[in-house]
Structures are given as C-alpha cells and as structure tokens.
Point group: C2
Chain length 268, copies 2
C-alpha cells in the first residue's frame, strides 16, 4: 500500500519528468470550428500516443468533454482507458459539494472513470474534501492560488496577517494526514508560489498557467520543487502545437521536458 | 427579452410557490442498493410527474448522474427534456474555473443540456462567473453560505469587520448588473441568511438544507422572502417520501407547498 503523493514522487523520479499534459481539446482550437467529435477524439489519442513516455500525468479537463453532453463523457471514458494504468490520471473537475454529494462524485471520478486524483475547490470546507481522500491511493489537488486574473477577487483577501490562499494552504496541509493531498498554484503567481511552499512543505503542487496563459516556467520549477514536488501542466501549448501533427506535438512536449530537466539540473 | 431573475419572480408569483425540488436520485436511497439505472430513471420521472404543477424549479444534482458515467449524463439529457420548457431547470453543478474553461461549461449547461440556471463556486473570482451570466435570460446562483457543517472552515473567516461569505454576497450583488445572479444560502444558517439579505437586496436566494439536513423552514421563508425572492430546495425529503409511491411524493410536496404558502400569508 502506498499513498498517492508517494506514487507521484516515484513517477517523477523515475521518469525525471515534471510534465503534466492537460487534455483541453476544444473545437475552437482547430482552424475549422465545425469540426466533429470524431476528429477531437482522434486528436486526443494522437496527443497521448505522442507524449506517453514523457509525462508524469494527463489531466483531462471535464468541461471540454461535458460540452458534448453524454457523448463527451463517453469520450472521457474512452480516453481514460486509452491512457491506461501506468500514467497518473488527474480529473480536472474542480468539484466542491456537501459530503453526501461529494461521495457520489468520488464514486464517479475514482470508481467509475478510474482516475487517480481530482482537483477540488476549497470553498465548502473539509467535509467537501474528505470523501475524495479517504483512500490514500487516491489524491486530491485543492485550489489554492489559481492562474486566472480574477483569482485575486477572493483568494487575496486579507485575513489577520495572511491572505485567504495562505489559510487554504495551511488548512490543506493539516488535512494531509494520509499523504494524498496537493495544491493547485498558478504559474502566473510566482511570488505566491514561494509563500505557499512555506505552509505546504512536502505537498505536491500542480502548477497550471504555462503556455497560453503566460506563466513563468523557471520560477515555477525552482520554487515548486523546493521542499516538495511540482508538476507543471501545459494544455493548449502542447495539444495544439505547430501544425497539430504528431511530430509537432512530440517536439513541443520534448522541449518542455528538456527545459524542465535543465532547470532542475541547474537548481541542484 | 427578460432577465432570469424576473422570469423566476414571475413563476413564483403566478404559482404562489417557493418550492424547488432537488433531483438527487441515489441508489443508496432505496432499500435495495443494487438497484439498476432503469429504476432510478423511472423514479426521477415519477417525481417530476407527481409534482410538476407545484414547483418553481427542478434542480438536478450533477453528481448523482455523473456517478453512472456517460449513461448518467444520457439520463440527465432525458430528464431535462422530460421536465420541459415551462419549469425552471437549475443545474446543480457548482462549477468554477478559468474563463476559457468556464465558457465550455456554459456551452454545456445552457447550450447542450438547456438548463436555465447553474450553481457556481466563487473561489476563482469574477472571470469564472462571467461566461455564465453573459446572457441575461440565463441565471447563476453563487455559493455564499452553504448548508454543510464545514461551511465555517473558510466562509466564516473574518475579513476586516465582515466574514468571507458577506464579501461574496457584496461582490455578487455588484456583479448582478443584468439581474440574473442569485445566491445559495443554507437553511441551516438562519442568522447568516439575515446578514446576506443586507447585501443581496432583490437578489433571489436558493435555499437548500431543508428536510434531510434539518434546516429551519420558517426562518428561511421569512428572512429569504424579505427584500427579494427565495426558493426553498427539498431533495431527499420529497424524492424519497414515505413508500416512494406517486401519492407519497405528491403528498409530501403538497405539504411543503402549503406550509410555505401559509408562512407567506402570515408574513404579509
């Protein structure tokens, strides 16, 4: 028996990779916006086939599947199967609901779909988190400081001499008794990343916001991997690289993989 | 053209009802937990058939559908069609994500599924809300003070001389330029309901937590309907009333309908 955070660390160490590829496959990302679901399915498989040996985890974003209704969730079932059991699969679903409902979501995401981890919103507190972390083999990444501009609206509110996202980091660290909780911290918030690490020693960080959103890779890697692991998510930047061919996708993923590895080597 | 909040008010006024029925149809709520999806589908239809003329809105809870994967989302498509266009349909999905992703969810919930409104988490701020309220005919209920015990973990944190949920109410009120935003306030938090109403004048409140969760109907109705509309959600208390027959479900819904109407008459 081994906790989710330990399994994540083992995969990071053995692959020497910190790359998470987000599967945000939208028809609007193709030149032709009337593209059919079949083409999106093929493209998602192409992304996985071209990058499998380079990535710690894939992170399908539920919105991009749900947009297609039940056919989209069928696609999600297919792509999860296609990824297979070795690679870590993170459900980017940002769930957050009362315990009774959270139980149903946990059954869905871990039981039905077979994901290894999920992203969660903290707003409803501990009982909205607990059902997802009852099994130490399954993990949860709690939203802490997100990559969007409006993250400041509430996350930066001052509470005593801290900000709300610091309190979230602090509480999450207390909840991490089974070593299966991590935090989401945007790459666009490099100062905050340093602050979060103070509270979240040894907790993995999932860092989105690199690529299309313009976050800083170097700071994310160095601060993120000090006192714990970080995985860096890239979605559109890899899934829609160059001419959208397998080669273009592979090259872009290799570029990220190599950049991250160099930054780690310099940092050591 | 008319805003979501106006449409909601018209339906409340013409029906003289404040009842929202939550569709949380879990197999664990039947005596036989090995029950098949077909039986759950039939039961959900039975609930809608037995209560149609008494309710302002139905609120399917996505978790209870998602638990069944793509077949569950197919069920959601079917039940939304079965409810039809006259009754307001609220997607209890508690979404909250960056703008690009929120756009996909809005396309899903309003475009694909045809819901009239959605529940949202505020943690990621305005750009996670905006895509859902761009069309004034579609509404959003933002989580403010939720009905679960752990809601205090973050929602009650002190910020200057307020609590976080008060700031959420205040900001949401500023965002309500198109008259299509409301708030979720648990019936288990009657003092907070009074406080929220100070900031959320004329905004509709969606009040869950009556029935299985033990919230206070009288306070919810009186405080909720002072300076604005309130709809009271009952899920398990109606869907799984008595012997689960149409009669039992209908009687329980009528009981809630009549109780609420009497409370409103006394209050006037």
């Amino acid at each position: 028996m081994s906790s989710f955070n330990l399994r994540l660390n083992e995969r990071i160490t053995s692959l020497k990779s910190h790359l998470c590829v987000g599967l945000d496959i939208a028809n609007s990302s193709f030149n032709n916006s009337n593209i059919e679901l079949k083409k999106l399915k093929d493209h998602a498989k192409k992304v996985v086939e071209s990058t499998r040996d380079l990535v710690v985890a894939y992170k399908p974003n539920f919105a991009f599947f749900e947009k297609w209704g039940s056919r989209g969730y069928q696609w999600l079932e297919e792509i999860v199967d296609f990824i297979g059991d070795d690679i870590i699969k993170i459900a980017d679903a940002k769930r957050g609901d009362i315990g009774n409902t959270a139980n149903q979501y946990a059954e869905s995401i871990f039981g039905h779909f077979g994901f290894d981890a999920v992203t969660l919103s903290p707003y409803m507190g501990w009982d909205s988190i607990a059902p997802f972390v009852a099994d130490e083999k399954k993990g949860a990444f709690i939203l802490c400081k997100t990559s969007n501009a409006s993250s400041k609206d509430f996350q930066n509110l001052p509470i005593e001499n801290k900000k709300l996202f610091e309190i979230v980091a602090q509480r999450s660290s207390k909840w991490n008794a089974s070593n299966n909780i991590g935090l989401v911290v945007g790459a666009t918030a490099s100062n905050e990343l340093r602050v979060v690490r103070k509270y979240a020693k040894n907790m993995p960080l999932l860092i989105p916001g690199i690529g299309a959103q313009g976050g800083d890779l170097k700071t994310s890697m160095i601060e993120g991997n000090t006192n714990g692991d970080a995985i860096i998510n890239v979605s559109r930047g890899i899934c829609f690289a160059g001419d959208l061919s397998s080669n273009a996708i592979r090259s872009k993923a290799e570029e990220y993989y190599n950049n991250m590895r160099e930054l780690m080597d310099e940092h050591r």
